[in-house]
Amino acid sequence: MLFDFNVISQWLHGALTSVMPEWAAILTESILVALAIITLYAVFAIILIYMERKICAFFQCRLGPMRVGKWGLLQLFADVFKMLTKEIISMRQSDRFLHNLAPFLVVIASMLTFACLPWNKGAHILDFNVGVFFMLAASSIGVVGILLAGWSSNNKYSLIGAMRSGAQIISYELSIGLTMLTMMALTGTLQISEIVEQQYAEGWNIVRGHVPAVIAFLIYLIAGNAECNRGPFDLPESESELTAGYHTEYSGMHFGFYYLSEYLNLFITAGIATTIFLGGWAPLHIIGLDGFNGVMDYIPGIVWFVGKTLFVVFLLMWIRWTFPRLRIDQILALEWKYLVPISLVNLVVMAIVAAYGFHF
């Protein structure tokens, strides 16, 4: 019933192999996929930035961008062009090579993770049997870029920001890893497509895993927010203390990369939450209401995935525009004294639930 993207990819593969040899067809497909990733990456960054500006404005009794285009819809395009035309300033006394390398590491990490998201049934770019593991590994490359940025800028604010970021991201990766592990105990597989298929067949994980899954979801949201360096965990760049933290010295598109990856990381964090907890592209099904479920199946999976992801993004923005910032010792205390112990206990609970079949 649900639209399967494999139809399109197989048709394309067939069409290409009929006019060119196998290797050339695969090469062409790879290029198309790469183009698709980059385009989606840019499009979602723009959507998210617009969304953030509008949501934050509404939280703050403002209107947000209104002048460029209807409801300020073209504002972001204007901003992107401005960013592209700005000069990239290189400074004396900085480590030129590392300074230029750092933003690319951050972008590469977030693109690799971005490629793991399941957009629809059959529409995965990277999908193999250790998918979740790969996703965690790829996402942690980003911290290297941030540390390098702080170190190579030769600026004290940047250095403090980078060190904070290092401490924070590495700590919170632990929580993310543990919540993932918790959910893997339930699903029994690390392959992302299978995780979603399973939820399509048996119900969303957050319902299937009930109490431990909800706890894991909340911990994941907190830790994921911290991974993205967003408020209330934005102290690596806390503007009121360190001006802009690790990217103080960046300008032009190099700064743009940090900006892009910040928003894309937000999307990815929400996307992973959707995939693991909220059923990915699986439509909303209520047991017993077959008619309703049938209607839901007509809505394509990509709409479900993007819709759910933007809902989680909204939750994270709500948090950001409500809470004040934590202090570095409080952030580490929250992680090591509260989240990690809770996650560990939660993992054991989930293991029991999974082993004895207490889940739905």
Binding site: K156, Y157, I160, P232, D234, S240, E241, P324
Partner: protein, 522 residues
Amino acid sequence: MNLDIRTVAPENLREEMLRLRREQKMNFLETLTGMDWGEEGGLGVVYTLESTETGERAALKTATTDRENPMLPSVSDIWKIANIYEREVYDFYGIKFTGHPDMRRIFLREDWVGYPFRKDDEPEKENPLRMTNEPLADVTESYVLNPDGTVVKETHPIFEEGEYVVNIGPQHPSTHGVLHFRVSLDGEVIRKIDPVLGYIHRGVEKLNESLTYPQTLALTDRLDYLGAMQNRHALCLCIEQAMGIEVSDRVKVIRTIMDELQRIDSHILFFSCLCQDLGATTAFLYGFRDREKILDIFEETCGGRLILNYNTIGGVMADLHPNFVKRVKEFIPYMRKNLQEYFDIFINNVIARNRMDGVGILSLDDVISFGCTGGTGRASGWHNDVRKRMPYAAYDRVEFNEITRKEGDSFARLMIRMDEIKESLNIIEQLIDNIPDGPFQEKTKPIIKVPEGTYYTAVEGSRGEFGVFLESHGDKTPYRLHYRATGLPLVAVMDTACRGNLIADLITIGGTVDYVVPDIDR
């Protein structure tokens, strides 16, 4: 009030000061004003002191006729705030204080030639507009008086070799203006703060010496721009008292209401900026939404929103706008309702509480010794409200509480301001319905000459005691007009409050002690 000043010889000064401190419990050094009384009177200092226990006040002066190398004993070990005040006097008059640990210029550039407040100094002559960056010294000097009367000059480094020193400011989002802290860090922990002041020093006090009295009024609004009403009120009050002008009841009530509106405005901005500093941007805009209402009220009557230019000698510039009473009456319930929102979104938030509880504790002794008046002092339990200590305008006929707390931490400083908003609303509510009739302006002579004498008048500004020290020699311009800045003690106390705290706490503490930079630099 006219000051009754006792003259003390420099060699007896320390002894006398120690006696006052010990026997008469004069623990609050209110002002320390440098003076140049010419060739005969010499260069000197006027001290005004108060005992916080008995309320007793004293004024002393001391002077030296040595203009080449003037030296006076320092009192910086008796009152901590004297450290900064004496640096100011050194900067302006070149008086070196023996025993002072850190004799550097404070407001002027370190390569400034001469001492501009001396009556015989010509500041323009040797100080062209310099096109180079200001040098910042890494060593400081002190003058030690030996028992045999000789003076030895010593130099000390400000920061040790290899310390990790970060500049917070002069361009920094959380210093609330052009303020510069050199902060020595150990990881994220603050070891020492050296404030570098004077980036927007405009020489207001020096300018005053060549302006007529009505002209001097214009500069007061530009000191603490969140206390524009009160600052100007203080100066008008001082001149009126000196000249014996009695203003009408209507003026007194109008001034009181305006002062309180200004206080609410300032406290709302305090809250907003603190939220911004702690990363709660939404709460920041909630504050601005409400502050806008006050600015609208001001705009209708005064024509200005920030620089109000409302008080004049003998009254106020214009009568109240016909809408004034209606607008203020609408504002009171509106503000009471919205104040609850501040608590919901920020003050009762667990993260905000953790950021403020127990951070930057100032003891009662410290705030008095540093002269931190206003909310910062009251948060540590010091009853210092000028409206209660020396009532002026219509404050003797309204009921209000002086809010104090005991904790002395950042949260207490925030809560003091929140409670003061409520008290100010109460004060306005009591007055708004019965503003007496009468002239809004007394007739004054076209040229105002203040009778000879030394006067000091204080009002409760938005962030503490704002005092005007006026010495008149009977001319149409003041001989010396010194302002007791509310912000200078608050910056001076930063080092004490921040040591051992984290760098993020510096922002919290700076936000809650609530200084405004133009008021510090003057």
